[in-house]
């Protein structure tokens, strides 16, 4: 009894200490996709009611302190980091809540007046340590300053929006695994013991078709009047499970994540699960607490809401007609990227953008191409259904060998119901032999292109509006446009690769030569050489000698 009382007191104190600072909300959106997959998106939003300009980040409670330190030390205005395995298939799956490219992606806005380049490198190295990822490979060779593609997502004085404050890099070859998830989970206040985070078991997370962990930091308005600022940290996990790999279409939390939700995290304000039941006829067990209907940008969504309480929760979904495969309608905008040409001389990078909308769309295409792929701007060709298209705007900074990458940003107006291909040609070049990675014949990665667009309709759209924080805020949140930032496939390019077994052969050969040379040299230097009489032996004498020796052996 006494124990429980003290516990209560401690808990009360605990609450009183942290109440004023901010709040944490955790949400899980489960959305069966049109194809044979189910999408689960976790979002842990921490809001800290402090002024990011003034706070020193010495003391923090709910907010993870390592992130606070980053903000202070590197003058960060905004930070977006995603680590992704697999590829989001826009054509089949629609749009995710958070777009992320395969591999690692870092986007940061720095406060005006700071030493951006130094801070960027230091930030990358710190993040590398924080997430156990190879983010330390971010340097001048793969960093660009996009002008149009990215805008600050948080509150910012508009006069400071300037591409000199933004840095963007992607590492397409980064392989994301458990070692990245564990440190990420440690940033959560309840770790992964209770609350929705208890669903994040790495064994199940990495058995998916797509998994992406993300961290998004931005300043937001504290209230509607927006007189003071708060700091918002969103930690996200996006997973796409495949029914075929699961073995059944009837999913449950236990099937997907290995276990149900283990109680509510005590520090959390709101802990909700939303199940999208728009597409299919599904029977949920236990019955949902609430049914939410959201009409957004012409799209109606029906969601079942569960509030996580202090009891164990496992949701089980049973499909009425599991064999029905819904017709796949591609979203308004999606894109592919591929290489054209063969051989080791010339090639082209093709980005194909499909506009399925009935109206023309304005898009921005951003490409970050490594320096060892020399592209030629005069070969840039934009062809839409056989007709050549003129870019509205073009930004291009050519690469410098071993100094900076190619940066290309193209503004296009895509005609309605067309597929547009943007082609740029390049040459294959030789690298210095030390610049090849250990698995040289694997090839080199080219990162994904980013295609940004304000869509007029919210078809297949799930993202949270910029002025909001929670998934529940996105219900009935119609806006003028819906921003998508589509990521395409990574490319693997085979540069001319020298035969690296050659040094081995050379060593073998050199050793043989040395060994062969050593014998005679040793002989000459260590033995005494005496001249032999130069008398030629006649053939007859030779035969005689031979016969003699033969006869001797016989006698013996």
């Amino acid at each position: 009894m006494i124990y429980s009382l003290t516990f209560l007191i401690i808990l009360a104190n605990y609450g009183s200490v942290f109440c004023y600072e901010g709040s944490i909300d955790e949400e899980l959106l489960i959305k069966p996709l049109q194809s044979n997959q189910v999408y689960a998106h976790f979002q842990f939003s921490t809001k800290w009611d402090i002024d990011p300009e003034k706070e020193t980040f010495r003391h923090s409670s709910l907010f993870p302190r390592p992130i606070g330190e980053l903000i202070q030390r590197f003058d960060i205005q905004e930070l977006h980091v995603t680590l992704t395995g697999g590829l989001w298939r826009y054509e089949k799956w629609g749009y995710p809540v958070v777009d992320a490219a395969t591999g690692a992606e870092v986007l940061a806005w720095f406060k005006p007046g700071s030493d951006v380049d130094t801070n960027w490198k230091l930030l990358a190295n710190s993040l590398s340590g924080l997430f156990c990822a190879s983010l330390n490979f971010i340097d001048d060779l793969n960093t660009i300053k996009p002008e149009f593609s990215f805008r600050p997502r948080g509150v910012v004085d508009s006069k400071f929006i300037n591409s000199s404050h933004v840095r963007y890099a992607n590492l397409p070859h980064e392989i994301v695994c458990t070692e990245n998830l564990t440190p990420w989970k440690k940033l959560l206040p309840c770790d992964s013991k209770t609350g929705l985070a208890s669903l994040l078991n790495s064994g199940h997370i990495h058995n998916t078709r797509y998994h992406s962990v993300g961290l998004h930091l931005r300043p937001v308005c504290r209230d509607k009047s927006c007189e003071s600022l708060s700091l918002e940290l969103q930690q996200t996990v996006s997973l796409v499970y495949d029914y075929l790999i699961l073995g059944t279409k009837n999913w449950s939390l236990r099937k997907l994540f290995g276990q149900g939700v283990n109680r509510k995290c005590v520090l959390v304000n709101k802990s909700d699960i939303y199940v999208d039941t728009t597409l299919t006829d599904v029977e949920l067990e236990p019955a949902p607490d609430k049914t939410v209907t959201s009409i957004r940008g012409g799209q109606t969504t029906v969601l079942q809401k569960y509030e996580v309480t202090n009891t164990f929760l496992n949701i089980y979904a049973k499909y009425q007609n599991a064999d029905v495969v819904p017709l796949n309608l591609p979203p308004p905008l999606h894109a592919n990227q591929y290489l054209s040409g063969y051989g080791q001389e010339r090639g082209g990078i093709v980005t194909k953008i499909y506009n399925n909308h009935w109206k023309e769309l304005d898009v921005v295409l951003l490409q970050n191409i490594p320096w060892f792929i020399p592209i030629y701007l005069h070969t840039l060709k934009v062809v839409s259904n056989g007709k050549e298209l003129k870019p509205l705007q073009l930004r291009y900074i050519p690469a410098r060998q071993r100094i900076r990458p190619n940066y290309l940003e193209v503004l296009l107006r895509l005609p309605a119901r067309t597929s547009t291909s943007v082609v740029i040609d390049f040459d294959y070049v030789f690298l210095k032999w030390q610049e090849y990675p250990p698995d040289a014949n694997f090839g080199f990665h080219i990162g994904s292109a980013v295609i940004s667009c304000y869509l007029p309709v919210a078809k297949n759209y799930t993202a949270v509006p910029w002025d909001m924080t929670l998934i529940s805020d996105s219900f009935n949140a119609s806006r003028n446009g819906y921003l998508v930032e589509i990521r395409t496939e990574n490319l693997i390019i085979t540069l001319p690769t020298p035969d690296f077994s050659m040094p081995y052969n050379v060593i073998c050969l050199a050793c043989t030569v040395v060994a062969l040379a050593f014998g005679p040299l040793h002989n000459i230097t260590t033995r005494k050489l005496i001249l032999k009489s130069n008398k030629k032996v006649q053939l007859v004498e030779k035969i005689k000698k031979l016969l003699n020796s033969l006869s001797k052996t016989k006698e013996e």
């Binding site: 697999g86 395969t102 075929l244 290489l339 054209s340 040409g341 063969y342 698995d439 014949n441």
Partner: protein, 636 residues
């Protein structure tokens, strides 16, 4: 070059030896080249195949494929479906099946314009499904392809391969270990379909413009690393033949062949190469003969440069590919047949090994000959044979050059030694110009739609034949054939060209280079500008025999005789002639659609080179010089 141009250095010891013994050296080298070639098939000269790439880990995992019933059902359904489409691909059924399995299914349309009449168009459809790898991001891909053959096709049917492909796709799509996308490709119209699909995948045109309109693909799967082409003629497979020869004699990496061969033997199917399996004998000569025969069969296919399966078109794009052809009948006595389970497990094993591969195929051999499926001859073993043979050309050219300098330096016949280099070069270039003209006859014909009413043979073959025949009278118009020195120089040029060409060809397509070398080198050694009438006629006769056209006619005639041994001679001759015409037309079509370079090489290099020697054999010069020349030879 200083060594060659400075006349005073021409009298060195080496040069003297060369001048004295070059004839012997040439004969010796040629004979040793031929002997070397004969010897490489002997087991002591070659080695057992082995896996060079460790990452493949062949056959390490337990096969789990168990969808054989599914395969049988697909097979029955597909046979039913094919009845509704007597001569085209039942694409709605295939697309539906791919979608049902859970793959991204796409269709690919292509159009082929007839190379000689662009107005005639044929269209075709390929169907393909892409298994998206759960552990990958569509950056790399593997291909499993099979040709669709309608019931009206003259080729043996391949429906079982489509059935097993679908069953394997169904099995594989449930597995989570795939790191590379698998593209399941069903092509129509044999090689044209694959070529069109590959061209569309890479957005390039390999042959002539405006012939094959490759269309566009909606779905791709990244860089393709390997491809397996299936041609199963029955549900029960008693013998699995592996085919590797590709376009222009390109071969897949030997590791891929070893992998396929190992997987076949793991499943216990009688596995063959060129329709011959393992043979064991204790007689060394018989053993050698068996290996040699098998190697020759492979070389014969390779030399034509025509792929013997759909795999052959992948090689150009850096994709290692081979065909698994399954027959119900087995040559092996007492061997068992495998069913869909076994075939599925072979495919599973191959693809899981390829899935393990981190780097693309780069180890092992890309240039090799196979005397059987478990032994190989690497490039370092076989290339000396052709080098020895072709080396004679350079030695003779060198010797002849020194000899010319020697006679020059003695300076007795200043008026005859005035070589007209310009005229020689003009002659040399003219022959090549005619070669280029001949090679462009088909393109030229295709451009004139007014000619479309005529038959292809009439408008292409006869003009070609006429131009080749007309060219044989070219020597009569060459004025320099009266000058011995000029002829000598032209001879040297021609020998150097022949030697270089043969070496270059054998680097790319060893078989073609070797066969050309064996035939042309001895004849070229005989040809010298001479005044002796009998010699001259003999040279002309010999050289006329090895005209590329004559050789082609001979090969086709012999082939026809072996195909129809029961026919009368006149029927065989007629058929052979017909087949010759067809083969030339086909090689032109191949060069225009696929970019096969055999026709181009023969018309652009071999025929002009033949003409150069032909001109040399027609040399006529004054009596006096020859006597002096022969005197000198006597002195030596």
């Amino acid at each position: 070059m200083g060594l060659l141009t400075d006349p005073s250095t021409g009298q060195g010891k080496f040069v003297k030896i060369l001048l004295k013994y070059y004839v012997h050296a040439c004969i010796l080298l040629y004979v040793s080249g031929v002997l070397w070639f004969l010897a490489i098939a002997y087991p002591n000269m070659n080695a057992n195949t082995y896996f060079s790439e460790n990452a493949l880990l062949p056959g390490l995992v337990k096969s789990q494929f168990r969808e054989d019933r599914e395969a049988s059902r697909y097979h029955e359904e597909f046979l039913d479906e094919m009845k509704k489409y007597p001569d085209s691909i039942p694409y709605p059924w295939l697309l539906a099946k791919f979608k049902q399995i859970g793959l991204d299914a796409y269709m690919h349309n292509f159009t082929l314009a007839s190379p000689f009449n662009r107005k005639d168009k044929f269209s075709g459809k390929n169907v393909y499904g892409i298994l998206r790898a759960p552990r990958g991001s569509s950056a790399e891909a593997l291909v499993l392809s099979t040709p669709f053959r309608p019931s009206s096709s003259p080729h043996p049917p391949t429906e079982p391969s489509i059935a097993i492909m679908l069953a394997f796709a169904k099995y594989a799509n449930k597995e989570k270990y795939w790191a590379k996308d698998i593209i399941f490709l069903i092509t129509e119209h044999e090689q044209v379909g694959v070529q069109a699909w590959l061209e569309a995948y890479y957005g390039v045109t390999c042959g002539s413009e405006n012939i094959l309109d490759h269309g566009d693909l909606k779905g791709r799967g990244g860089a393709i690393q390997a491809a397996i082409n299936l041609e199963l003629h029955s549900e029960r497979i008693g013998q699995m033949d592996i085919k590797i020869e590709g376009l222009n004699g390109q071969l897949p990496n030997l590791d891929l062949f070893n992998l396929a061969s190992k997987m076949c033997s793991k499943e216990g199917v009688y596995q063959t190469f060129k329709n011959r399996g393992h043979f064991y004998t204790r007689k060394p000569l018989l053993e050698w003969w068996n290996y040699f025969k098998n190697m020759l069969t492979m070389m014969a296919t390779q030399a034509t440069g025509i792929p013997n399966g759909n795999h052959g078109l992948f090689h150009r794009f850096g994709i290692q590919a081979l065909t698994l052809e399954g027959f119900e009948q087995s040559k092996a006595t007492g061997s068992s047949r495998i069913w869909f389970v076994g075939i599925g497990r072979i495919i599973e094993g191959v693809f899981r090994s390829l899935n393990n591969l981190l780097e693309r195929f780069h180890q092992s051999f890309f240039f090799y000959l196979l005397p059987s499926s478990d032994r190989y001859i690497s490039i370092s073993i076989y290339i000396p044979s052709v080098c020895l043979m072709v080396g004679t050309m350079f030695i003779k050219a060198c010797a002849r050059w020194f000899k010319m300098i020697e006679t020059n330096s003695e300076g007795k016949n200043l008026e005859t030694s005035a070589i007209r280099v310009d005229k020689i070069i003009i002659t040399f270039l003219t022959t090549h110009f005619f070669g280029v003209l001949i090679s462009n006859v088909p393109q030229f014909v295709a451009q004139y739609p007014t000619l479309s009413q005529y038959e292809t043979n009439i408008k292409v073959f006869y003009p070609l034949l006429a131009s080749v025949v007309l060219l044989t009278v070219l020597p009569l118009f060459v004025s320099i054939r009266h000058c011995k020195k000029s002829m000598e120089l032209l001879n040297i040029l021609a020998m150097l060209e022949l030697g270089t060409t043969l070496i270059c060809i054998s680097m790319n397509n060893f078989s073609l280079g070797l066969f050309c070398g064996i035939i042309s080198v001895p004849a070229a050694l005989v040809i010298n500008p001479s005044n002796c009438r009998v010699c001259s006629y003999f040279q002309r006769f010999l050289w006329f025999l090895i005209h590329p056209l004559n050789i082609l006619v001979c090969i086709v005639m012999i082939n026809t005789y072996y195909l129809f041994p029961e026919e009368n001679l006149d029927v065989i001759l007629f058929r052979g002639w017909d087949a010759t015409m067809q083969s030339i037309i086909f090689s032109i079509v191949d060069s225009m659609i696929y970019g096969n370079w055999l026709y181009g090489v023969i018309t652009n290099i071999f025929i002009p080179n033949w003409l150069c020697f032909w001109i040399v054999s027609f040399s006529v010069f004054k009596e006096g010089e020859t006597i002096k020349d022969s005197d000198k030879e006597k002195k030596e």
